[in-house]
Symmetry: C2
Subunit: 353 residues, 2 copies
Amino acid sequence: MNATVDSASLLSCPVPAPDNACVTMAHGGGGRLTEELLAGVFRPAFANDLLNSRHDGAVFKPEAERLAMSTDSYVVNPLVFPGGTIGSLAVNGTVNDLAMCGARPLYLSAGFVIEEGLPMALLRHIVQSMAEAAALAGVRIVTGDTKVVDRGKADGLFINTSGVGRVIATAPVDAREMRAGDAILLSGDVGRHGMAIMAVREGLEFESDIETDCAPLNRIVDDLFDAGIRAHCLRDLTRGGLATALVEVAEVGSCRLLVEEEAVPVSAEVMGACEILGLDPLYVANEGRFICICPETDANQALEIMRRHETSAAATRIGRVVSADHGGVVLNSRIGAHRVLDLLSGEQLPRIC
Amino acid sequence: MNATVDSASLLSCPVPAPDNACVTMAHGGGGRLTEELLAGVFRPAFANDLLNSRHDGAVFKPEAERLAMSTDSYVVNPLVFPGGTIGSLAVNGTVNDLAMCGARPLYLSAGFVIEEGLPMALLRHIVQSMAEAAALAGVRIVTGDTKVVDRGKADGLFINTSGVGRVIATAPVDAREMRAGDAILLSGDVGRHGMAIMAVREGLEFESDIETDCAPLNRIVDDLFDAGIRAHCLRDLTRGGLATALVEVAEVGSCRLLVEEEAVPVSAEVMGACEILGLDPLYVANEGRFICICPETDANQALEIMRRHETSAAATRIGRVVSADHGGVVLNSRIGAHRVLDLLSGEQLPRIC
């Protein structure tokens, strides 16, 4: 694959460029080099019948009464970090957004904006991590697009993934479905993704490496619905962390939520790192955690199902919906005080996802 | 809308920022300012029931046996140009990709990567042009995402749009369906989009302004299928122009195409600009032109239908599929010579879409 290629073979049969190569503007021009980039890097990694037709898009049978659709652009810096890459993040992020709609993710699109000069080997590594994440989640990348921008006009690589999934929830999954008395379940400890990124970016060394929690959540959600759990609201905890997710669902659902800070799991490493940096772990990003808000009568069974999956083995109950008339989140803090959570007015950690 | 706002009202009720404002990193942090940006700029422009649920995605009924899915990222420079913006381009581009799959576009997603410092008024203008393009094409923008990157790490704004559409073609629309004897129809004159961009970017002044041809093609395609035209292959002519589209479909379909250069309409302005810049209009990008390859017996009716639409009023026959055994395009040039077209080896016009 990495042998030196002569110009004749480049013209007659696209082959991957050598791995000491970099992406050039010409790779984005829509001509022969674009075709080589697609044939050499993207198509082999994402190979499937729908993708290979070299068409403007993919055609599939929905085989569902309702579909969910979601999109996210990823601008994380750095592109590779402990436990993941921008590529695995881009796949899992959209997979998880679909799962949070009560859907089984089926097909993803992938759009790449590449800065001229990105090492081809790094691009290959990231694309490979996308392919692996897609295989793990059981989704197919069926259509894509590649653009190249001049040096200094992007930051290595931005990726957009969009996806469609088959809705498997039989009732709406929406914050507006929350009811007083519902239990708030959290799938695991919080703050890993944000702290993993910060540690690399700031060159911080902690006693042990903090790895991102980035993971697909769709199989857990599948099992919840298969078992008949009435999930009124599902929300993954990304940018802005647990606190932001709680405030958003409280606002949309016009409910008051009461959360026990003591009940929210935070690892010692993440807690230590947050203390050093002066950050509140409740506001730090995650990429493999979610909250499930469901009737109290379903809560124990839901927790049991969640704990069967490695990703959510530490699932726990963190609070409840106390009333359905005011939008807001009250945190019963470790020291017993009540504190109203709000959205951060600005940003805590830029370029985290 | 542009009145000065105090911090209390910012917290209680998101309002648009004043128009002399710029996008800041905090607008991408996922907190209060992100919510303000969404509530002040994006949601009012794209308003619809599916979008307004403030969820991770949108849920809809496919109501189709087969769906098409497509994605494109847009990095055009400059962001605003004669006849369009990156926003109208992003909507029409994905609408057209879906139409080229034989589908009626239904729902789009929109992902924004914004450079810190982008003037809010410019963002508003672009978002408004997206909303207008969506209304014109009859599609809804149902889900979106906004990221902000630091100054110098993007080039103002990149937009990704992805879309799904209902397949209305009853037979596959794919280059592999082409047959010897098929007619090649072109929907109008070529090269306008690329030359409109180049004129602005290079500060060139031509005798008259060249406007982009950027337009939605879906209603034309709708009418072709409604009339029973057996379109074997549809391809819009974007990056790389008419020549690249022809070479690609010839390669995928393993057919030899013969095209009469004389028959390809090029306006005097575009021809003049191409001569000044030393460009071949056949390779210059378009954003509202397509080729339809169909049985010769359907060709006249197809042309008649295309000519009823303003966008394709100058539709014409430019050639035919001469054999179904070798992939390649032969151009019968103006001076009577035969020339084999190839993909450009590098790039002609960077950042054109």
